[in-house]
């Protein structure tokens, strides 16, 4: 078991955003987290990354309790998030954005990894010296993914990677997620595009107002009548 979240509770100013969420993510799998707006998907990922404080519950990573550790320590352990809205650094160049992704690395292979990102995302290579803020939405998403990969994550968490992107670009993003997994990285994915997410996911969780409502294999959830009605827009 790579990531084991046990009964996680998070509150914002008295309002409980997570009311005891338990999620297991196994090594090498793609796990999708779906649910309506405000269900607590982003809060879950933010708590794992150390951006939000857990009120109670535990987050275990490879058996180690990482609850309450500063983000830096969590990134150092290989748990890395591509945040919602991408949050690239718009006034840095594309290259600088990639470099900052490797902020905690001190090894000599950073340059090699930058080259690898450029083969993974050829568009970024063309725009290497451009300010990241001038990129299109899809390119910014690629950059955000590339930036996260620069830290050589073992578990990559992605918060709505396809949000606001053109359908063709969305297809690219999902292809890349598959490719990331093939490289041995475990993926925990939040998606409003439940259909696409469950198709590539080994396992899925449905969050409803701060609790897990359903859990199952990706295909299983895809065919679940409740899920179809609530999240896939099909009766």
């Amino acid at each position: 078991m790579t990531l084991d979240i046990q009964d996680l509770q998070v509150s914002y100013g008295g309002i409980r955003a997570l009311k005891g969420v338990s999620i297991q993510v196994e090594d090498g799998k793609i796990v999708a987290l779906i649910g309506a707006n405000g269900a607590g998907k982003s809060t879950t990922l933010r708590a794992i990354s150390g951006l939000e404080k857990a009120q109670s519950g535990k987050i275990l990573y490879n058996g180690e309790d990482i609850t309450g550790l500063p983000s830096k320590e969590i990134v150092r352990r290989g748990v890395v998030m591509v945040p919602e809205g991408r949050l690239i650094f718009p006034d840095m160049t594309v290259l600088e954005n990639l470099k900052i992704g490797a902020f905690l690395r001190r090894d000599k292979e950073i340059q090699k990894d930058i080259e690898y990102m450029y083969t993974l995302f050829p568009r970024l290579k063309e725009r290497s010296w451009q300010m990241a803020g001038t990129l299109s939405g899809g390119e910014q998403q690629m950059l955000a993914v590339g930036r996260a990969l620069m830290s050589r994550p073992k578990l990559l968490m992605m918060d709505e990677p396809s949000l606001g992107l053109a359908p063709l670009v969305v297809k690219d993003i999902f292809a890349i997620i598959n490719r990331i997994r093939e490289n041995g990285v475990t993926v925990l994915l939040i998606e409003q595009n439940a259909n696409a997410a469950l198709k590539i996911a080994d396992e899925g969780y449905v969050l409803e107002t701060g609790s897990i409502a359903l859990r199952g294999q990706g295909k299983e959830l895809l065919n679940n009548p409740e899920v179809r009605a609530a999240y896939l827009g099909k009766a």
């Binding site: 983000s71 150092r76 949050l87 900052i100 930036r147």
Partner: protein, 295 residues
């Protein structure tokens, strides 16, 4: 002509000093979105440290200056540690009030510890000797200040643009969340920002003291507020803008008095007029960008 050159040299000197101080405001604003009203008082403390180090303990000037810069830098870090860091998640107005508190605290601390009677800044002959440059007579300071300031500012630009620390500072200035997700230590980066900004204020104070050698507990407030204006003029948050704003304020101030000597009594007021005009005409300053609120 030589009078004009004299004024020009003077303006460059004053402008460089403003730039050194304005940098501190703009850097702190960048990472904390805070106008650090205690910056002028950090500057004031530096002048007293020089007085005690060189004037009283008779340290050689280079050692005195070096210690002053180090202690001033640490004082800045300390103020952040105890007055701003505990308020990291508080509304921004609380931090602002805390900054005003630090400012008054340091002024009163100086009054208690050093006394309210004005003291004279120790003069170092190497800097204060008068030299003659083709008819333009000035203290050696007049040339040294712009050179030292330029060297420091270039070094700072290099640090911000090319080093890992600078990368972290720029990231923190943009987004706390994104920075933390990169593994950047927020507190450490903010502390380093205060360290650098206060060290610059220390250097500024040393040179300021040799040019205007009177020290009192309130000596930091006018330069402080003027350099804040310089930072706003250049576009607060933008380091190049702070340098530009500082130089511009220095030039306009000196030249105004040079052209209309009758106005010399209004020299200090001019900076405030400038602030009002900037806020009315271009609130983002010369190089400032659209205000992006951090959430």
């Amino acid at each position: 002509m030589s009078v004009f050159l004299q004024q020009l040299a003077n303006a460059l000197c004053v402008g460089s000093l403003y730039a050194l101080l304005a940098i501190g405001y703009t850097m702190v604003y960048g990472v904390l979105r805070l106008i650090n009203f205690a910056h002028g008082e950090i500057f004031m403390m530096a002048m007293y440290i020089v007085f005690y180090g060189i004037g009283l303990f008779m340290l050689p000037w280079y050692l005195g200056f070096f210690l002053t810069i180090v202690i001033t830098a640490l004082l800045g870090v300390l103020s952040e540690r105890f007055a701003y860091r505990p308020l990291r998640n508080a509304p921004r107005i609380s931090v602002l009030i805390s900054a005003i508190g630090v400012s008054y605290f340091l002024q009163n601390l100086a009054t208690v510890v050093f006394g309210g009677r004005p003291l004279t800044f120790p003069q170092v002959a190497l800097f204060t000797d008068v030299i003659d440059l083709g008819g333009v007579k000035m203290q050696r300071l007049g040339i040294l200040v712009p050179i030292i300031a330029a060297a420091l500012l270039i070094a700072l630009m290099f640090l911000i643009k090319k080093t890992r620390t600078g990368l972290a500072m720029r990231a923190v200035a943009r987004s706390y969340d994104a920075s933390r997700l990169m593994g950047i230590d927020l507190n450490r980066t903010i502390a380093v920002t205060f360290l650098i900004g206060s060290a610059m204020a220390g250097v500024g104070a040393i040179m300021w003291g040799m040019k205007y050698p009177q020290i009192s507990p309130t000596v930091g407030s006018m330069p402080g507020i003027k350099c804040f204006i310089a930072a706003v003029l250049g576009g607060i948050g933008n380091t190049t803008g702070a340098v530009l704003g500082g130089l511009l304020l220095g030039f306009v101030e000196i030249m105004l008095v040079a052209v209309w000597p009758d106005l010399s009594g209004y020299r200090d007021a001019f900076a405030f007029v400038l602030l009002i005009v900037v806020l009315l005409v271009k609130p983002t300053g010369l190089l400032g960008e659209k205000a992006t609120e951090k959430v």
